[in-house]
Amino acid sequence: MRVPRSERILAYVILIVMAILVLVPVLAGSVTAFKPQIIWVSSPPTWIFEPTLENFEFVFFTRKGWLFLRNSLIISIGSVVMALILGVPAAYAFARFRFRSSKALMQWLISLRMIPPIVVGLPFYAMFLYLERGLGIGLRDTFPGLIITYQTFLLPLVIWMMRGYFAELPAAMEESAMVEGYTRLGALWRVVLPVVWPGIVATAILNFIFAWNEFFLALILAGNRTSTLPMSAGTYIVRTRVEWGNLFSVNLIIMAPIIVLTIILRRQLVKGLTFGILE
């Protein structure tokens, strides 16, 4: 499809303006991460200085940033893996089989996405407390506890996205494989999954981003042992002052994997989110 030159120019102008609006604050802040402490809040702001990594060193080692990074990775990757393992087969079932109240279930799932985290967080906290006291199962401030809690938000997203990909495929694809000697699971594995692979990648990335950025549930349910990066960012804003340089270096650490992931997998992401329409 050829887009007229004038329309393309207009599109670029709009995109550039939007990029400036979004990126300038982020970049200006990010620059601060490399400033020595004395010029964090100089007025007017200093733009020319010798960049330093001392803020990163401070948050990473002195303030145990590596620990929060590790916790965030364990929780995010763990939640995504669990959501995919549970959600992909569920999505396939929703796409291919009609069962009692399957439609209502799908609607319920999407409604889960809409409720604010606090509605979920406090009951989970209470539940974990009872489990701990009643049955001796400790989930507060543990990785499994957070990973399970995150399923409330990740599973519906996985199921909704993946159901769309599965529904696009002709059922004859796996039926053909079933007649040719495979079980339904075998057909799913050998024929369907390779086709929806870009969709799985896109789903995984979106879910990873959600889990990685999640703040509120972690605030309620995590503790010293499982604190995440976003929680640690909060510790640089205290009542009397904001440690700008440290805060922005944590922010950069939080943003880095998302930016890297998106750049590496952007083709799959676009393909997965549009199901190849833009190819």
Partner: protein, 368 residues
């Protein structure tokens, strides 16, 4: 292998009538049977039940005397070509054809031999390295055929495999399927809504409507001895001319038929079927090929005006208005009939059909 369907019923939820309504059918080993019928008559459902992709509500399916009704599709040892699916998109042509062989854990060397042989058989050996994007619709359908055949199944199911192809390719592949059937000696069950395809392919044609089997017979039988008005109308293009009429006694002991605007004397072979039918309503049918243009009006002859002429090549299909009825008539194109001409139509007595107006059943004894 012999395929037998016994009292097979399939009813889908949220539908008041059965998609397949207690059908009984025997397909002999090595036969090429064609399920023919209009869209929605239950052909696909029947085929899918044989394949095991749909579970019948009741009834049995046996292949070579073995009851397979409750077997998983993979254990039935048959092959199927689907209407809307031909190639696994993430595999190239070679891997597509090899795919069923991996399921039986065949050795790599043997797989290679089998894949190449099948590809040669359907003339796609030059495409083996191609991906889905690099093959045409017809080629993809050949891949599906090769993949289905590679396990050398004894029963071969095909659900309108040619319906998405253009006319020329369709005719070409039809011939190849017929050849494959002869070469393999397997039992083929072929589904189509195209009666011409059914006639050219089938040893046996099974005409279906609304989940019921209307008639089972050779192409010749369903064409020349339709058991009811539906089969008579559905089989054959252009389709049979059909009129409602009333039976009456003629002076010489034979029967006559009152049709809107004219009447006819009926040939003797109807006498038995019409014994108690004087005054009854019947459906009279005559194929466009069985009507002749006469130079003069005469006995069993009616006159009308040509309203429409369609060229079919060497022949024309003309439509002649006789009172309320428009008769389709096949004439030699060289006769150069024109719109507005007056024609005298003569109906070949030997090719008239009569059906009971209520039951739509043929009023001829079951013979040609």
């Amino acid at each position: 292998m012999r395929v037998v369907l016994k009292d097979l019923v399939k009813r889908f939820a949220n539908s008041d009538r059965a998609a397949v309504n207690k059908i009984n059918l025997v397909i002999e080993a090595g036969e090429l049977a064609v399920l023919l019928g209009p869209s929605g008559c239950g052909k696909t459902t029947t085929l899918r039940m044989i394949a095991g992709l749909e579970q019948p509500d009741s009834g049995r399916i046996t292949i070579a005397e073995r009851d397979i009704t409750n077997l998983a599709p993979k254990d039935r040892g048959l092959a199927m070509v689907f209407q809307n699916f031909s190639m696994y998109p993430t595999m190239n042509v070679y891997d597509n054809i090899a795919f069923p062989l991996h399921a039986v854990k065949m050795k790599r060397g043997e797989i290679d031999g089998a894949v190449r042989e099948m590809a040669r058989l359907v003339n796609i050996d030059h495409l083996l390295g191609r991906s889905v994007r690099q093959v045409s619709g017809g080629e993809a359908q050949r891949v599906a055929l090769a993949r289905a055949m590679v396990r050398r199944p004894q029963v071969f199911l095909m659900d309108e495999p040619l319906s998405n192809l253009d006319a020329k390719l369709r005719v070409q592949l039809r011939t190849e399927i017929k050849r494959l059937h002869q070469d393999t000696g397997a039992t083929f069950i072929f589904v189509t809504h195209d009666q011409e395809e059914a006639m050219t392919l089938g040893d046996k044609i099974i005409v279906m409507k609304d989940g019921d089997i209307q008639q089972v017979g050779s192409p010749h039988e369903v064409f020349f001895a339709p058991r009811n008005a539906f089969v008579a109308n559905f089989v054959g293009t252009p389709s049979m001319n059909m009129l409602h009429g009333t039976v009456s006694r003629g002076e010489s002991g034979g029967f006559r038929l009152q049709l809107p605007g004219f009447d006819l004397s009926l040939p003797e072979r109807f006498n038995r079927g019409l014994e108690n039918m004087t005054g009854s309503r019947v459906i009279w049918g005559i194929r466009p090929e069985a009507i002749k243009l006469m130079p003069e009006p005469g006995e069993n002859c009616v006159s009308g005006e040509v309203e429409l002429v369609e060229a079919l090549g060497s022949r024309d299909l003309i439509f002649v208005r006789v009172v309320e009825q428009l008769f389709g008539v096949i004439v030699d194109a060289l006769e150069s009939v024109a719109v507005g001409d007056t024609c005298h139509l003569h109906f070949a007595a030997g090719q008239m059909r009569l059906f009971d107006a209520d039951s739509e059943r043929s009023l001829l004894p079951n013979s040609l």
